[in-house]
């Protein structure tokens, strides 16, 4: 070690000059570069990206959150409310940043329109292959007795970017309404198209997708809609209509009066005011028991 005897004043002056000139050189160079090569970036893009949830789920229809941020800032025709998982809060923030008007969003949630679990339907054949609903579709359209039914191989559950779907013990997806952000990924991926987004405030659903005629449905499923039309007649609000042998609720009219729930002979219509029950594992009901035994009479 060279024994440089530090002389406080000498060292201080030297380092002041040295560092000062280093700073000056860098400063001038950087300032020159900053001015000479200035590019404008829109800071709003980053601002928007920061408020987006960052799940990159693609519900907005753009390539990830950044894609949407760029689009909503750069393109006047892109609305601020397209991020479904972000719900109204994010829409409002995005609107604020971009100066656009936030649309009024009706919060929605995913609902499974099939109750034909393993106990209420049967398998047409023994399936041997990839455990994925889309792959199972390739094999004679799936092994469920009802050709409209949920196949139960859980593709939606694996696809949900928010972990909102669990498969029940007897093979139907159960949606956690708290976690679901209505991103629509499951809706798009289900090969049987039995999932749809419904207004979160509405709890009465006709959970069947079969467009078969009544007798055909009865052959393959214990709980399917047979298109008998009793609910249509019974609904005091006129909210239900039959379409292709399947009853459908107009959610703008439904008032949760539950009349339909009680008249349905198949017990297809379900009231989910108490979602906890949905998750409870079911056991196969005895042959003659009411199909929906675990449901409290209302």
């Amino acid at each position: 070690m060279e024994a440089v005897q530090p002389n406080l004043i000498d060292v201080t002056i030297k380092s002041l000059i040295f560092m000062g000139s280093v700073g000056a050189i860098f400063g001038i160079a950087l300032a020159w570069a900053a001015r000479k090569f200035a590019v404008k970036v829109d800071p709003r893009v980053e601002a928007v990206r920061d408020v987006l949830p960052g799940a990159n789920c693609g519900a907005c229809g753009f390539a990830g959150c950044m894609g949407y941020a760029e689009a909503v800032v750069g393109d006047a025709s892109v609305g601020p409310g397209m991020c479904a998982p972000g719900k109204a809060d994010v829409a409002a923030l995005v609107a604020k940043i971009t100066g656009k008007v936030a649309p009024e969003l009706i919060p929605t949630v995913a609902t499974v329109f099939c109750r034909g679990d393993e106990c209420k339907t049967f398998k047409r054949f023994e399936y041997n292959g990839v455990k994925d609903c889309r792959a199972c579709m390739l094999v004679a359209g799936g092994d469920k007795s009802c050709s409209y039914a949920c196949l139960g191989y859980g593709t939606c559950a694996r696809a949900c970017p928010f972990g909102a779907i669990k498969m029940s013990a007897d093979g139907l997806p159960v949606i956690d309404r708290e976690k679901c952000t209505a991103c629509g990924v499951c809706v798009a991926i289900c090969p049987k198209q039995v999932i749809a987004l419904t207004p979160s405030s509405k709890m009465v659903h006709i959970r069947c997708s079969s467009r078969d005629k009544g007798p055909a449905v009865k052959k393959v499923c214990e709980i399917g809609c047979i298109g008998c039309g009793l609910c249509v007649k019974a609904c005091p609000e006129g909210a239900i209509a039959l379409e292709n042998n399947l009853a459908k609720i107009d959610y703008t009219k439904c008032t949760h009066c539950e009349t339909c729930v009680q008249v349905c002979p198949q017990r297809t219509i379900e009231d989910r005011l108490d979602p906890a029950k949905e998750a409870a594992p079911r056991i196969k009901p005895p042959a003659n028991a009411p199909v929906n035994a675990e449901k409290p009479a209302e």
Binding site: L138, S145, K219, E222, A287
Partner: protein, 328 residues
């Protein structure tokens, strides 16, 4: 509905509806069987404790695999033989005299960290048995380099330290090693028949060769890796002025080239890529043997090439039908 559900149901799947009779368990058990003669030879030379070491490795691997799969909630598949084989190979990679907690630790590392953290059979990047060995080597270097002397026959290594031929070569040079034998011929034959110190699986080159050739003949392994691996070691050793025959016969080379550098899971799939893999293994082995801190480099060479496997898989792709013509 009830009635219909009771009908006898056909099995439906996408084709093909028949399969060849080669299955994963069959492969694994057959490879294990091919290794059995070598294991027996080492038990003959090293005695009961060798048997205990091998058995401990196998039992630990299988038990740990079953337990891990239980805990992770996946199908328990110990009967497929891959854990058995990993255990057997791990045992063959240890010195005969190690205390029996080493096999258990090695097995845990091989099965849990190297295999199941990656998703189990088929997904691991590194050779489990070799990682087990490298881990033990790093943790218990003294125990792992204490070589008991083979019991059978006249002994060929320094009775005091029980060093392996490669160890002697590294420490004291070729002439000293030769001095342990009556001549070069004697040295080669002793090595071939296993009459020497070393890990359990190093001792009988002949038995391992037989097993390896059996596997090649059955089509369970390709010739590419063993040939290019051993060939490169011999060639490079010769180029650098060593004894190529000794290089081929010593250390874990033959075991590694036939049974460990051929583990499907951790080596490239294509034949051309396998040639490159074997050459790489050979080059690193020679580098470590000649210049490195360790007397033997096979284990590390294979592990290092394991790292390169995904890259080799990227670099070598099968030639598509019609593609060459399209380019022309």
């Amino acid at each position: 509905m009830e009635e219909k559900a009771k009908d006898k149901k056909f099995l439906v799947s996408v084709g093909p509806h028949i399969r060849s009779n080669v299955s994963v368990p069959r492969i694994m058990w057959t490879v294990s069987a091919a290794l059995a003669p070598a294991a027996l030879v080492s038990v003959y030379y090293f005695g009961v404790h060798a048997l205990l070491v091998i058995a401990a490795c196998i039992l630990a691997c299988m038990a740990i695999e079953a337990a891990t799969q239980k805990i992770m909630g996946v199908k328990v598949s110990v009967t497929d033989g891959s854990a058995f084989l990993t255990g057997l190979l791990l045992g063959m990679n240890l010195p005969a005299g190690v205390p029996l907690y080493l096999p258990v630790i090695g097995a845990a590392v091989a099965i849990v960290i190297t295999k199941h953290l990656f998703g189990g059979l088929g997904y691991n990047i590194f050779n489990p048995a070799l990682i087990g060995r490298a881990f033990l080597m790093a943790s218990f270097p003294k125990l792992m380099t204490t070589w008991p002397i083979p019991a059978g026959g006249q002994m060929l290594v320094d009775a005091k330290t029980g060093a392996t031929p490669l160890g002697i070569l590294k420490e004291e040079g070729y002439q000293k090693l030769l001095a342990h034998f009556t001549g070069q011929q004697d040295m080669y034959t002793s090595m071939l028949f296993g009459n020497r110190g070393g890990s359990l699986g190093e001792v009988s080159v002949l038995a391992i060769l037989l097993g390896g050739i059996f596997l090649i003949a059955k089509g369970y392994i390709n010739w590419q890796i063993p040939v290019s691996f051993i060939g490169t070691v011999a060639g490079l050793t010769w180029v650098f002025g060593g004894d190529p025959v000794l290089a081929m016969l010593s250390g874990g080379l033959v075991l590694g080239a036939f049974f460990m550098a051929t583990d499907y899971v951790t080596v490239p799939q294509l034949n051309r890529a396998q040639l490159a893999f074997g050459i790489g293994c050979g080059a690193i082995t020679v580098l470590i043997r000649l210049k490195g801190g360790y007397p033997e480099g096979v284990c590390y060479a294979i592990l290092l090439m394991n790292c390169l496997t995904p890259l080799l898989d990227r670099a070598f792709k099968p030639k598509k039908f019609g593609e060459a013509k399209a380019a022309a």
